[in-house]
Structures are given as C-alpha cells and as structure tokens.
C-alpha cells in the first residue's frame, strides 16, 4: 500500500539507504512515517561523526513515540538535512526525496548487500 522504491535497500527497523558510488543517503520509509504519526522531533549526528553499521545515529519522535534511528552502513557523516531539525514534520511529505536525513561516505559499499530489497521489506511490513 506504500511505495518502496526499487533502487533503495531497507532495514527491518524501517530505515532506507540509497547508495551512489561511495555516498549513502539514509532516511526512513513511508511505512515508518505512517506508523509514527505526526513527527515532532529529530536529532541527528554531527558532520564528521563516524558511524558503524547498526549504530544508533539519532532519534525521531512523534507525539506519542520515541524511536532510535539505526545506521544501515559504516561511514563518516558528510551531510545532514538541517531543515528537518527545525521542521521535522516535513519528513512525512517526501520521505524518499526532500525528507532524507543523512549522507555518509561509506567505507565498504559491499555492506549494502546485507540489507533488504524493496520486495523483501515490503513483504515484511505489509505481508504482501
């Protein structure tokens, strides 16, 4: 029922990653946006922070829920979507586009193969 673009890979904890060369763009899925409801707070790491695959890289909060964000890959934070720190509700408008959270320069592009394909993720969350 939600869109899961084929060119992305997914975590079962509802983050996505788009890998272009050694740059990974990370965000949360349309399913996560729907489940969370109104997003009211976002916390992201600093530029230059290094993250390992599986690390918590921040927090997202809706009115009722507090959730950790998990990094799908290992790398250095080279960009973050600061607009969303002040207006986290905008994530919901375009989670795969303007609503991206973080860009990493990854140390091992091969890590992406561990993550779920769009079809695998879709099957997990929607059972279809």
């Amino acid at each position: 029922m939600f869109e899961y673009p084929e060119d992305l890979r997914y975590l079962d904890s509802h983050e996505y990653v788009r890998l272009e060369g050694e740059i990974a763009t990370i965000g949360i899925t349309a399913f996560a946006v729907d489940q969370l409801g109104d997003i009211v707070f976002l916390e992201l790491p600093e530029l230059g922070d290094s993250l390992s695959k599986g690390d918590s890289f921040g927090t997202i909060e809706s009115v009722k829920a507090v959730e950790d964000l998990k990094s799908p890959m290992t790398g250095i934070v080279i960009e973050r979507n600061d607009v969303l720190i002040d207006s986290p509700e905008q994530i919901a408008d375009d989670p795969y586009g303007q609503g991206w959270l973080l860009k990493l320069r990854v140390s091992d592009p091969g890590e992406i193969d561990d993550e779920l394909t769009a079809q695998e993720y879709s099957e997990q969350v929607e059972g279809t």
Binding site: S13, G37, K64, E67, K70
Partner: protein, 358 residues
C-alpha cells in the same frame, strides 16, 4: 528505529482504544478551535443512592461535598490514610427524591475501577448505600471544544447554554435516557454524555456528520497536558498527596469534619511538603518525557511525570516533581534526555488557558 512502532489501536484495561483517527495534531487543533469527540466508555461509572449518602462520601474525600447543590459536581480525590491519592474522580450530585434518598453518579479512571469499587464497598455502609457499577452498561462520549455545545444542542430540547461548568442534567437523547455534564479533560468547554450504547452510536455518527472530529487517546493526552490536568498513574498515585500534586484547591480542611487522610494533610499544611508537581517549559526542541530525570546544579533532584511537544504552543512542556525550594516560577532546571542535559524553566500551570471558557 525499534521494531515496535506504535499501533494506532491500543488495548487498555480490556477495551480496544483508538490512539488516533486522523492524526494527533489535527485532532488536537480541532478541539482547540472547533470541536472534537472522544469515546471514553472505558472509564468507570458508579451510581450510588442512600439517605445519608453525601455524609458517608464526605469521609472519603478532602473536598466539602456539602457545598454541592443538586445538578452540581465536584472534581476530587479518594485518599488512603497516608493522604495518598487512590484515584481522582468526579462526583455528580443528582439530588434527593421524594422519599429522601440522595443520588450521585461517580466517574472514575478505567484502570482503577475495581480498586475504587473495593474501596467504596469497604468504606461505605452497605446497609444504607445502594451501589451499582454501570461501567459496562453505558457508553461515555466527551464532546469538547468551543463549538461542542452548539453541536450537541441539536439533539436535546433543554437549553445547554444554561448549564454551568460542572453542572449536569438528565434528559432524553434519541429517545433514550441520557446524562449530560459540562465537564471534560481538554481545557475547553464541552460536555460528557452518558447513554445506552445504541443512542451513543447514533450520537457519534450524527456528530461526525455535523463535522465534529473523532479524536483518540493521543490527542486526549496532549490536550489535558496543556491544561495541566493530572493523569492518574502517571502524575498522581498512592504515593503523592494533594498538596504535592498541586491539588490543594480540593482540600477544604476548615469546613470539614474528619475524613480519611486528614491527619497527614493537616501535618503537611503546617510543615510543608518536600516536593511539588510543577510545569516545565523546555528551552530547546528536545522533548522531556515520563520518567526522565530532572537536574539542578548537575544533580538529579526530581522526575518528569508527563511530557510532550505542545501542539498549541509549539514548544515542549512537562510536569515534574521537584523539591519545594525549586518549585518557583522562573526557576532554572534541566532535564536529562538520552544521556544529555537540556535546560528547562519552571512555568505557571496551566500551560494553556482557553479564551473560550466561560
């Protein structure tokens, strides 16, 4: 993110409860600016009758029930002997019938219904008081917001604008007996309606067609928190007393005889209390939530009991217990959130006061 994202329905004391219908912020705004409705049928509902019923209830609450006229109501608390709060309740006094029998309706919290029932059984004279638990027999719908009264007016003949805050009446709704009270848990004007299930469904559907927004437990929580109304089990419980919880306005020591908890409340009035529930405004965007530590000069001094981003005000606010000497307006404090410390300041309660209340 954790795998356990919140479902939109939640199970609450055996009832399936909607957390949200169309988004918490949307529902919240509807109640502040127009009207919303809540299915709160899960709440406990007792009817009591007896010749000296008010006298008997006087022993169980710190509020002076002799001030109540028929068709008035009192928000109050049941206290244990340590003056800890067993529950917060509303007592609706329905008056005396021709044979001298006094009648009240009591609405209590859902999770405490059985505990309250046992406490009332234990402390009321069963020879003289007839007690009925109608929790499962009736539905309860709260219609709240500046336009709530005019929406509800379409379905009853009595002039609802004549009912004062905490006033109530018995009337007919879709051909069935109904109880309407000008009370609520949102900080806005509105009514709570107690009816049989079929009339309740008809009312809900009719109000929805008229544009009243269905609201879930999520918006109910953000609305009550902006109005700084306590949530039982979170802001108040059996270890907190009315003085500590900012409910001193319910305690009428001067005009009442003995009641359970009086001795401790009298002592606390003379000696003061060690902690108080205060309103906090966070200075940044970080949201303080239930259970987070409150700090002063790098030391943990208290605990957050409720917290959220205020949809109306646009900044995070919280209720927290702090030492009495720090419980003053403009006191600078801090809240620890996920290992980091963020500034907060003590502010007046309620955080939000409706301009539409009469």
């Amino acid at each position: 993110m954790g795998v356990e994202l919140k479902a939109k329905f939640t199970s609450f004391g055996g009832w399936e409860m909607p957390v949200q219908y169309g988004g918490i912020s949307h529902e919240h705004e509807a109640v502040r600016t127009a009207s919303g409705m809540f299915d709160i049928s899960h709440m406990g509902k007792f009817t009591l009758q007896g010749e000296n019923l008010i006298d008997q209830l006087q022993r169980l609450v710190p509020s002076d029930l002799n001030r109540l006229q028929p068709r008035q109501a009192q928000y109050t608390v049941l206290l244990n002997p340590q003056a800890g709060i067993i529950d917060d309740i509303i007592i609706y006094y329905q008056g005396i019938n021709a044979s001298g029998t006094q009648k009240v309706l009591i609405i209590v919290n859902a999770a405490t219904t059985e505990k309250d029932k046992a406490w009332l059984w234990q402390n009321l004279d069963s020879q003289q008081v007839e007690f009925q638990d109608i929790s499962r027999d009736k539905v309860l719908i709260a219609v709240q917001g500046p336009k709530a009264t005019s929406h509800l007016q379409a379905f009853v003949t009595e002039d609802l604008t004549q009912i004062k805050s905490f006033g109530h009446l018995e009337t007919t709704l879709f051909g069935q007996p109904a109880f309407l009270a000008r009370t609520g848990y949102t900080g806005e004007d509105g009514f709570e309606v107690l009816v049989d299930e079929s009339a309740g469904i008809e009312l809900w559907q009719s109000l929805a067609r008229a544009g009243v927004i269905p609201c879930g437990l999520g918006a109910r929580d953000t609305l009550r928190l902006e109005a700084a109304m306590a949530l039982y089990g979170q802001d108040i419980d059996e270890t907190t007393t009315p003085w500590e919880a900012g409910l001193g306005w319910l305690v009428h020591l001067d005009s009442k005889d003995d009641f359970i908890g009086r001795e401790i409340l009298t002592q606390q009035k003379i000696n003061g209390v060690k902690r108080r529930l205060v309103g906090l405004r966070m200075q940044g965007r970080n949201i303080a939530r239930h259970g987070y530590p409150v700090l002063s000069s790098d030391e943990v001094v208290g605990i957050v009991t409720s917290g959220t981003l205020s949809p109306t005000l646009g900044y995070p606010l919280a209720l927290a217990y702090v030492p009495t000497q720090l419980a003053t307006i403009n006191q600078n404090l801090a809240v620890e959130i996920r290992g980091k410390v963020y500034p907060a300041v003590v502010v007046k309660r309620p955080f939000y006061r409706s301009k539409n209340r009469f």
